[in-house]
Amino acid sequence: MNFDALFSQLGQHTIDGLSKGAIYALVALGYTLVYGVLRLINFAHSEVFMVGTFAVLGAWTVMGANAEDGLGMVLVYVAVALVVAALASGGVALAVERIAYRPLRKKNAPSLVFLITAIGVSTVLMETFGYVLDRGFSAFAPGTWNGFGRPFGRVIAGMPTVVQNKTVLDLGIFTISNRQLIVILGAVAMMLALDLFINRTRLGRGVRAVAQDPDTAALMGVNKDRVIMLIFVLGGAMAGGAAVLYGLKLGNTVFDVGFLIGIKAFTAAVLGGIGNLRGALLGGLLLGVIEVYGATLTKSSWEDVWAFGVLVIVLMFRPTGLLGESLGRARA
């Protein structure tokens, strides 16, 4: 274990971890919202994120985004991407709920059936972007669509660079780049927005009511189905936001980008306490840091193993997470 490499650059590694973790945290919100109310692991949420990244790719390609265009334009690019990604991800999440989950809910299906359906949906979405849209489509209707103007599918697709990577803060022992700053601040801002929504608006009150006691909420006039749709859309929108930050930070995407991010985000949600929104934030940031520390201690290719390790340890020793669970009982 390479302790020297870790401690000699602890501050830098921490910042790196936090900026990674911020993205996990945003995606984790989607898992935690749905699990908290429906007791369902929304496997398809990882693909909701992936669709968001492709939406960002599409938006920036269409707009001809370029980092050289000046701060004003960059802001526009980011804003448009946010809207597009949130709509795309939220829309996909909503579609999944209506087409796949709702019929099962109405039949009071056991959770095994939900899980398997979720896996199926996840696979369909992955393959849509991995093959169908890329080459399957062109087999049926050649020439009608040429993708995002660049190869994608099973290949990693690069995105236009919108923000050049520059060091913004140099504190001697570590530096923070502008990208990292944007990611961390952006994530926190989005989470605050969600928190405000849940706690201060009427719709948000409905969400909390359904999360705590769905039947009573229904008796008090809350439209359970609408609230559940809202939860999916909110989670999806957060994932869309995460997709924009991801695109800013990493600059590329691929059809199975959702898988790893998804598992890690789920781990973050469990680590913080599933169902608990603040827990998702804490869990995400913490997981990002643990990953970076771990990868420094061992080999960098073992980064994912550290993440899985955290998952197994948390589930074994403290499945309620650090901040404790907040679970509802909304099944049917």
Partner: protein, 383 residues
């Protein structure tokens, strides 16, 4: 009429026919039943024969089609996988999404210990001065594979079997991925290069072999079929013993079962270990025939396909899952042009089956009843 109503009707008809068939079957004397079973087994062995009819079923009459025996072999191997996974999902009721991990461990066991190409064999040769032609005999690799897979099944199950169903699924999925990552990044597995020269029962593929030669996969199919049939018998014995009863009891009401003296955890662990061993055995067969493996053979998509075989076929009964395996293996081979669509179709099939007919193609009666009762409960609740 909605789609579900039509399916209901079809289901009712199928149940009536099934009842007639089952009653006739019950009326037969034991020796007559044995005759039927023997005839069925004979047909299975005879399938590769060129005189076997229906060229539209066989895959090798179209150009670019796969060898028919080769496809049959693959069907047998995956049927074994499905039967093993059925022990975990269908009999014990635990969702395992990382089954490909056991498959991989089995494959790598025969590769790492049996092939002259493997770093492990080379290390052993050097350490014990065994000469450069030595490797573990193929037959010995089998118990090695089974030992490793059962051990990993127990290691995986021990901390995770107490978890909620959803969590168990995620953790097992992680396990499958960890196996792949380790295989991809480790030197002792030759990382992404994979291992060549994996032997069959007679050693690596060569024209000098008597039975397992280079071109015709028929002996492979027969060997795999024999293994499958033997293991089917073994699993049935378990099912009809106290072990199967314990699994059923745990699946239906774990707390009541505990109060009646059933040690739930131990039986769940056994289910995991047995499932793992079956997965490992099929991995051995797979690797032996292919002669070459690398980490990309053991992806998450394959794990999901395994689950799909069990679930679409009808979890809980062996006929159903074997049918699921055969369909999901055979159809893409028969319609080779669409092979790239397979993962997509698997996903679609999973969703469609789960939403419309969650018990699968050949449902076990228990599952069908359980799901119907739950649906009726939901209808009664108006909230």
């Amino acid at each position: 009429m909605t789609v579900t109503d039509k399916l209901e009707e079809a289901d009712q008809k199928r149940l009536k026919i099934r009842k007639k068939v089952v009653d006739r079957w019950r009326a037969l004397k034991p020796w007559q039943r044995w005759l039927f079973v023997a005839a069925g087994v004979f047909v299975l062995y005879a399938l590769p024969d060129n005189r076997f009819p229906a060229s539209f079923i066989r895959t090798d009459f179209s150009e670019g089609g796969a060898s028919w025996s080769g496809v049959l072999f693959l069907c047998a191997v995956y049927a074994l996988v499905a039967i093993g996974l059925n022990v975990v999902i269908g009999l014990a009721g635990l969702l395992d999404l990382g089954y490909v991990g056991f498959f991989a461990i089995g494959a790598y066991s025969v590769a790492l210990f049996g092939s002259l190409d493997s770093p492990v064999v080379k290390a052993l040769q050097a350490k014990f001065n065994l000469g450069s032609e030595w490797a573990v005999a193929w037959a010995i690799c089998i118990p090695i594979a089974i030992a490793f897979t059962m051990l990993s099944g127990v290691l995986l199950g021990w901390p995770t079997l107490r978890l909620r169903g959803d969590y168990l699924a995620i953790v097992t999925m992680g396990f499958g991925e960890i196996i792949r990552i380790i295989a991809r990044n480790s030197d002792f597995t030759n990382a992404t290069l994979g291992i060549n020269n994996i032997p069959g029962p007679e050693g690596p593929a060569s024209m000098d072999n008597v039975i397992f030669r280079v071109i015709d996969p028929t002996p492979w199919y027969w060997m795999a079929l024999t293994v499958v049939l033997l293991l089917v018998v073994a699993v049935r014995r378990l099912e009809h013993s106290r072990v199967g009863r314990a699994w059923a009891a745990v699946r239906e009401d774990e707390d009541a079962a505990a109060i009646m003296g059933v040690h739930g955890f131990r039986f769940k662990l056994w289910a995991f270990a047995i499932g793992a061993a079956l997965g490992g055995m099929s991995g051995v067969l797979f690797a032996s025939r292919q002669g070459y493996i690398d980490p990309s053979n053991f992806s998450l998509v394959l794990s999901i396909t395994f689950v799909a075989m069990v679930v679409i076929g009808g979890s809980g009964n062996m006929m159903g899952v074997a049918l699921g395996a055969v369909l999901l293996t055979y159809l893409p081979e028969r319609f080779r042009d669409f092979i790239d669509w397979r993962p997509f179709m698997v996903g679609v099939a999973l969703v469609v089956v789960m939403v419309l007919k969650p018990t699968g193609l050949i449902p076990s009666r228990r599952r069908a009843r359980e799901l119907r009762d739950r649906a009726e409960e939901a209808e009664a609740v108006n909230v």
